[in-house]
Amino acid sequence: MKINELMTARVETIAPGATVKDAARTMHDLHIGSLPVVENGQLVGIITDRDICCRVVATGRDAVMTQVKEIMVKDVTTCFDDQDLADAARLMTDHHIRRLAVLKRDNSMAGFLSVEDLARGSHDLASSVLEASTPAH
């Protein structure tokens, strides 16, 4: 089964110069926990609600004065939408993560594949990903 059959195709993104408060508000309104950071059509990072908690609130930074690019994770693990599910699961397992940014072959953003999406295709692949990742209690 291919990644594009199970991924969540999403186009909501945020600009690297947006404020952390804007990012938090967007994630709140859209009921999502992360946003791809896109500049000139290219993926330059990911920001999550956990990044906001740990890198802004925990350290006492001002969310209105801090830009997304200051706290985003730049080293994003990606896959292509026409790759096999097993490839995606291996990538997640190797990197101890639970979601991948999915790109089209022209490197534009196609969506996200999470371990929950993976579970709809294979309980075994999804559970292997969980076993490899750090438990987030």
Partner: protein, 137 residues
């Protein structure tokens, strides 16, 4: 298999009158995404990194003065330590959640059970929980 055989016996918690910044700092230091909120040995709620991002940062509330009790989730789904793990998995699936607070029969919190803990012993139970959970992308 019983819940107590695979749960994470976490005793880390936070008091309801601590600030969101203190909660964020504790989660960051412990590498966890949620903390039980305890008062006089009783479980009052759960606070997550997402609650902090959504309640304080997105809404422009000051995390240095907002108390945990304002942002926590009060309806916590619980199970007992001596229940079967299939009961726990069913509770998670029905509630569309990925973790449960585990109580002993004095109603004291003795641990947390996450879908990650389930995955270590049953790919099918964990896969079912993931499929039922709302994907957080």
């Amino acid at each position: 298999m019983k819940v107590q055989e695979i749960m994470t016996t976490t005793v880390e918690s936070i008091a309801p009158d601590k600030t969101l910044r203190q909660a964020a700092r504790k989660m960051s230091d412990l590498g966890v995404g949620s903390l039980p909120v305890m008062e006089d040995g009783r479980l009052l709620g759960i606070i997550t990194d997402r609650d902090i991002s959504c309640f304080a940062v997105a809404m422009g509330r000051d995390p240095n003065s907002t108390e945990v009790r304002k942002a926590m989730t009060k309806e916590v789904t619980t199970c007992f330590a001596d229940q079967d793990i299939s009961d726990a998995a069913q509770l998670m699936s029905e509630s569309h959640i990925r973790r449960l607070a585990v109580l002993n029969h004095d109603n004291r919190v003795t641990g947390l059970l996450s879908v990650d803990d389930l995955a270590r012993v049953s790919h099918d139970l964990a896969g079912g929980v993931l499929e039922a959970a709302t994907p957080i992308h």
